[in-house]
Symmetry: C2
């Protein structure tokens, strides 16, 4: 019996464990200080009431034999897929309902989609980025190359014609940088993928945070239906991190090696997945009703106000950052040329504010720091004030 030796190549990521440990140590040593967490990567506002109502009605269906639901469709119920198709239509993108696969979340799909591709592919992954793209492909034994991002490109890496990639992960708006591609930039990626016979795996988990005139979907770009799979999630859109529901779009035009990837993904899901909970699908459908959208939008607006508050503070301090306006994340340059962890310690000990060191998201994250908008208005405002207090003077002195 041979185990999967690729697991040996996985690098343990202690980022969040280390953040928690250092924070707890600080709290133990400073019981009087009120620590404010701007490192939260999870939603904090409750679900929209119409969504809870729908989920509870879904539960109630299971109480009675006449309305009981057994095995769901592997690809999701049509009433949910139709609503998501309409949602795409609402921002001008035509996706047929039967191109949409409902799942227990974009993270599962991000990793499992690899099943339809050969191990023998080169995977291009932006740096910094959500770490699971890397780990899932290390496990699969694929060759991984990076698209380094930095201040030159405002953390939006562009294709390099000298690099040959087969599978490309893009995340826009990005986690952790909050940076979002515009139409022209995404068009370059689509052209690169078409020229190189590559497939883009487009993580649109944060599309609902977009407020500027930016693409909400890779399918806003001509040609994307021939080269891209889109992964999306209700986790941040509708606060579903604890409910677990996402969706993946595989257009029927997407053919590689003579096979429709749509059919391959269906076969993968039919073999290694058994669909999403009835009550969860009822909840998901409620998200895409007009009232569901209105209620979810209220939560997004709340997070947005927090993001703008942090952004304003950084503007005032003259600190470089990306994100905020179209994302729950703000990615700031650590001041005074501090490293990510130096700034983490500085911010914690001087302002009792917790954030996330950027190097946890890739080596290009060194010297950067992620703040999130998922705390309350009050605490976010208080944290912003404290940051201003400790940074303003030193920055003025340095400038």
């Amino acid at each position: 019996m041979k185990i999967n030796g690729n697991f040996d190549k996985l690098v343990p990521n202690y980022l969040f464990a280390d953040v928690a440990r250092k924070t707890n140590e600080f709290i133990a040593a400073n019981p009087d200080k009120k620590v404010i967490r701007l490192g939260i990567g999870d939603v904090t506002l409750p679900l929209a009431p119409v969504v809870v109502d729908a989920m509870q009605r879904g539960c109630e269906d299971l109480r009675d034999q006449k309305t009981f639901k057994g095995y769901p469709e592997y690809e999701g119920y049509d009433f949910v897929r139709n609503k998501i198709s309409d949602y795409y239509q609402s921002f001008g993108v035509k996706i047929d309902a039967d191109e949409i696969f409902i799942s227990d979340g974009a993270k599962s799909d991000c990793g499992n989609i690899g099943d339809i591709f050969s191990q023998d592919n080169t995977v291009l992954i932006p740096d910094p980025v959500y770490p699971v793209y890397v780990d899932a492909n290390i496990m699969a034994g694929r060759n991984i190359i990076y698209a380094p991002a930095g201040e030159d490109d405002n953390f939006l890496p562009m294709p390099d014609k000298n690099v040959k990639a087969d599978i490309i992960y893009l995340c826009s708006p990005n986690n952790p940088t909050g940076a979002a591609y515009n139409f022209g930039q995404l068009k370059e990626w689509v052209e690169y993928a078409l020229e190189n016979d590559a497939v883009i795996l487009y993580d649109a988990a944060y599309e609902a945070f977009i407020r500027d005139e930016l693409p909400r979907s890779i399918y806003c770009i001509d040609g994307a239906r021939e080269c891209a799979i889109e992964l999306c999630s209700l986790s941040k859109t509708a606060g579903f991190t604890g409910v677990r529901c996402g969706y993946t779009v595989v257009p029927k035009e997407l053919v590689r090696g003579g096979k429709k990837l749509h059919d391959m993904w269906y076969r993968r899901q039919a073999t290694k997945f058994n669909g999403v909970s009835w009550a969860v699908q009822c909840a998901a459908a409620a998200v895409f009703t007009p009232e569901g959208q209105r209620q979810c939008r209220k939560n997004l607006d709340y997070y947005h106000e927090n993001a703008m508050l942090i952004a304003k503070t950084l503007d005032e301090l003259g600190i470089y950052y990306t994100g905020g306006k179209n994302s729950p994340y703000i990615w700031m340059k650590c001041p005074f040329n501090m490293s990510s962890w130096e700034f983490f310690d500085y911010l914690l000990s001087n302002a009792a504010v917790v954030g996330t060191p950027g190097e946890g998201f890739g080596s290009c994250g060194k010297g950067y720091f992620r703040l999130t908008s998922f705390n309350s208005h009050e605490k976010t405002a208080e944290a912003a004030e404290r940051m201003k207090d400790i940074l303003e003077f030193r920055l003025n002195v340095n400038s």
Copy 2:
């Protein structure tokens, strides 16, 4: 870009589609006949009321910021894992809570567990069996060999010392045959696995149907903690086919290639899975309360009565079968040396009863037929009567 070429080796399985098509054709041609379906592979009774109550309370938690739940633990909440640990204890098996991984169902785990093993392993799969073991391993490009079962071993294939397998799938009580291993038989499999450095993937999805003195878990057998992973599900135990929750046990003693498979599976799930819905986990915990067990037992008893009714009829007709007593499935030999599909047609046209041709579960299923206990008492009794009517006379003539 290269797709996973192993998908080309998958054989399309049209079994249930063909059954549905033929049934619909019969109904269209015979609108007066009342067709009874004994081919149902899904539960039909509603959830236990305490389970629905718990799930609805779980939904309610998400309505309020104070009780809201975000990302769950990858491996499941402790309050669920503790209850499952206690459940194992109730039939004398010691499994620590932190050896239990909660998932969205045993089908997902059955396929995904392959991620921790090398492609370069020989997989031994009983024939006939639940088809997803085969398909998941074809997708992964593994060498598959079969353990053929038949009347000689009462559809309980035993290890062959001349065969070298690395990964062994066992399902007991089996789908589709309903046959269940006894302690001595499972001991032989454990010994084989230990001698061959193999790992048994033990699918215990139907353990709750066991009524005889038979092992409810592979861990009833000494040594299994060093060679077996157990996959279980609430789908049939508690009618969770539409709720989606299962669990997988990876004992800490299970080491291969110097690695704890427990830690590998944790890493796999942490990378490619994000845990199970809060409300679903609340429902799962309710299953394992005393009242939950009592209510779920009522449904199992109902199905059991149906199975015994079919078994009694086959006993009276003198037809060979396995299953029934410890399983919702009855696996019968097709009378008059008919093939599976001949008997399907015969039963449908003469008795308007639908079952499942055995050859859909592997080549050793040829000439056999699966009946299930998931219809109502009334319809099951009526179907049994009809079978008796059409078979009794011919069987008497032939004997």
